[in-house]
């Protein structure tokens, strides 16, 4: 970066402001290029997979242990808690993978934004207004985030996160059902069964009523 601005460029505080943007753009571009060209993304990816792999191993070990044969005289509440814990570990791993996928577009958005700022600067479009700058940043980021959402990697990570969250929730329910049973309280499943019967009964009553009304209308 030149210390002295050319005479055609703005002077004083505006020049400082303008040069600051230019400097930021150039520095950031260098950082992005260095990052992209280095082995860092590969290492980050491997590290993420390794971490996920380790917690998956732990989760699988708990699953194997808890899915052993049920013994008649051994209370299996501990087994239910262990399974819920295993599901929680798996959920954390899926969340980490999801976060890795969703953070990717921000790098590209930054690169594109700084490129656009540099271009404006080179074309001498003047000191940027914060509103214009923010609108540009929001537009580029929105495009990159939406583009990312349509990738197979995102859809896979999101699906696996959903599956893990549902598994964790259902394991939690098994624990709370066991506690409810201990205190002789109805479980959510009991209530679901009641509402199922109620819904079916209501349908039958209404169908009978319709039949009756139709038969009344006939000669």
């Amino acid at each position: 970066m030149n210390d002295k601005a050319p005479s055609s460029k703005p002077v004083g505080a505006t020049a400082d402001w303008s040069n600051l943007w230019q400097s930021m753009a150039e520095s950031s571009n260098r950082i992005v290029e260095a990052w992209s060209g280095s082995i860092a993304p590969f290492m980050m990816s491997r590290a993420s997979e390794k971490a996920a792999g380790e917690v998956n191993d732990l989760s699988a070990a708990i699953e194997r242990m808890a899915q052993g044969p049920q013994l008649a005289d051994v209370w299996d509440f501990d087994r239910k808690v262990a399974l819920a814990f295993g599901a929680w570990i798996d959920l954390r791993a899926r969340l980490a993978s999801y976060n890795a996928v969703t953070s990717a577009p921000w790098t590209e958005a930054s690169r594109r934004f700084l490129e656009a700022v540099s271009k404006d600067k080179a074309e001498g479009t003047g000191t940027p207004d914060w509103r214009d700058m923010f609108a540009k940043w929001a537009e580029i980021s929105n495009q990159e985030l939406i583009k990312n959402q349509r990738t197979d990697a995102f859809l896979k990570a999101q699906k696996e996160l959903l599956q893990a969250a549902l598994q964790y929730r259902s394991r939690q329910t098994e624990v709370t059902d066991a506690i409810s049973a201990l205190f002789d309280l109805p479980t959510r499943r009991d209530l679901d069964e009641v509402t199922r019967q109620l819904t079916e009964l209501r349908r039958e009553v209404r169908a009978l009523r319709r039949e009756k009304e139709q038969s009344k209308g006939q000669p």
């Binding site: 402001w17 929105n142 495009q143 999101q158 699906k159 599956q163 549902l166 259902s170 209530l191 209404r206």
Partner: protein, 366 residues
Amino acid sequence: MSDSENQAARFAREIAANAEKVFKATQLIANTRDEEVKVGTTPKHLVMRRDKVELFRYEPLAQQTVSTPVLVAYGLIGRYTMADLQPDRSLVRSLLNKGLDLWLIDWGQPGRNERWLTIDDYVDDYIDAAVDRIRKETGHDRVTLLGICEGGVFTVCYAALHPEKVKNLVITITPIDFHADVNDKAAHHGFINLWTRSLDPADIDKLVETFGVLPGEFMSSVFSMMTPMRSLTKYNVDLIDVVDDEDKFMNFLRMEKWLADRPHHPGEAAKQWLKELYQDNRLIDGSFELSGRKVDLRSITAPVLNVYALDDHIIPPDCSRALGGKIGSDDYTEIPLPGGHVGLFVSSKSQGKLSQSIADWLVARE
């Protein structure tokens, strides 16, 4: 002071002013009571209640120009208040001002107790009961149905299964071909279609088995994801633009109130919606069944008006347009309007266009 110094001073002033505005916005939000933020205020009275479902009749606001009663049916994702957000942004108020006899079926707040309700129940029981009641109250043999989004699918199914009770069918922002999003080139259109197809049918079963419903909060998060930057900026940067204008600020809060009011979708109906329609696309191919009967679009003999939004990111236009040529009626009209899925109903720009299009079309068929 030189130009450059002026600009630097202006920049500093803007930063300070924005910080002050964000602070003011937080104070305004803190000092506003929820009861002051009113939505769905157009006067109406309760006519019938069936389980949690309620049938309302709106009070007339003008001399009647169309005598056939019009039943408004919203979907189970979100509430009907989108069509009556505030007096100057209200489809129902505009239609009443044009002399329509307007009725509303409100699904209420389904919860886990409604887990076992199916689309069959909504179409063949709740809508059918409402239509029969309207016929009885007004003396009309047939009614006009006005469906919105998922409610549009319900009314399409009803018109196909009960054509003898339907005089006209008006659908707005309604998906018919759930796979037509693949034709849409706009990247921000059709994420829900893509996302739903990325899931295994067993994932949807598990979701419903786990929660008993398709949770409203879950759908809210999917919708937020579709407009990522808007979701990140609406409680901070965007407030700067509305904080000094009370009308705009209250509009923002009313919109937030509508967004927050997102009931759970009954579980079994959600399975049909996501698996049979979004994944298997059964409505368009004629294999979708309700109460043991196939929904054959060719059985729709009433005149049909199909209104869709050109920038609808939730229901891409091609998904709606697919109805053309598939029905049994020759009287089919499409009206594309500028705007998005929600903007069609609530934006200041679209006010008047939607209601005028519907009223003109109905008057011509009275």
